[in-house]
């Protein structure tokens, strides 16, 4: 029998702490799909986020901070934007409409039925523009655009209590992806083709 001695391998940077903007919070607060006056917590899917980071794509991560968490991306020099845009509304908690079912298969969910899509109407966004003072800059979002945040619901039928303990679950779903979309010309606060895009409207 041949014995193989394990080899020590140096992992470069293995102990280095990621900067704050690359380690966003694992949960985000937002409105409930079943009652827009109630607040629920959602997990943020880490896998696709890691892929954006690995490929050097800044924009989805900036969008996550600003359009999903509703916070200025925590990069050096960006602190002034928090006060500059203190009156603007963005983030999952500011959603004004919510739909159920995304009318396409998503992995194990054949009909995309367990997804909720939240609609927000942000006025500004951030993009990667390195300068002497900051690496990001704000830009005006065109009037015809909306922001969509998709969440896979743990309890799509509104089951609010865990059967064994009777307690409320800590989180109620996972935010999977987010994007800017065009609005419906007839109903500018709803996404284009919303009737074909979603199964029904929650609120």
């Amino acid at each position: 029998m041949v014995s193989v001695r394990p080899r020590l391998k140096l992992i470069e940077g293995g102990g280095k702490k990621s900067s704050e903007w690359l380690s966003p919070p694992s949960t985000v607060l937002g409105k409930s799909p079943f009652d827009n006056a109630a607040i629920m917590a959602y997990r943020v899917a880490p896998g696709d986020l890691r892929k954006h980071i690995a490929t050097g794509r800044h924009q989805p991560i900036l969008d996550l901070w600003w359009h999903v968490y509703g916070e200025t991306p925590p990069v050096p020099g960006a602190e002034r934007y928090s006060s500059m845009f203190a009156d603007t509304e963005q983030g999952l908690h500011s959603a004004h409409a919510c739909f159920r079912g995304i009318m396409r298969p998503v992995a194990e969910d054949d009909r995309g039925l367990d997804y909720a899509a939240f609609v927000t109407k942000p006025k500004v966004g951030f993009r990667y523009r390195p300068s002497m003072s900051c690496v990001i800059e704000p830009y005006d979002i065109p009037e015809d655009l909306l922001f969509l945040i998709y969440a896979h619901l743990d309890f799509p039928e509104g089951r609010a209590y865990q059967s064994k303990t009777g307690n409320r679950p800590v989180t109620n779903g996972v935010v999977t992806h987010w994007q800017l979309v065009e609005c419906d010309p007839a109903e500018p606060l709803l996404p284009m083709d919303y009737e074909a895009r979603f199964r029904r409207r929650y609120w």
Partner: protein, 128 residues
Amino acid sequence: MQTVAELTRFTPRALYYADADALEYVRIDEPVVYRRIDGLLTLILGIDERKPVGFKIKGFRNIYLRKLKPSLRDDNDHFLRMVTVFEKIMSEIGDGIFSDSSRREAYKAATNIAMEDQVIVSDLPNAA
């Protein structure tokens, strides 16, 4: 500590995003607009001129396992030409794609991007 500027330099790649179950290719690291074409294809447009800069194939895991993986020569094939992916998708849709001019043009625009950039898909969904 890694800062924004120190993030890996952006290089366009076709990537499979498992959480969203979508294959996405985008040429630019800029704000973009996602325009739904149908249940399979979303065109990605530049925010100002609204010209195509990428595409997203939705529900890609299902397409890959059902239509693409069986045609791979052996298990050692770990990449696909994006143009081949579009050919398979369009043959699946059939005549429906030719009866709607805007839908046809959208698929053409996405295929052109795949051809011009010689997009290769090496980031494939897991079978499990």
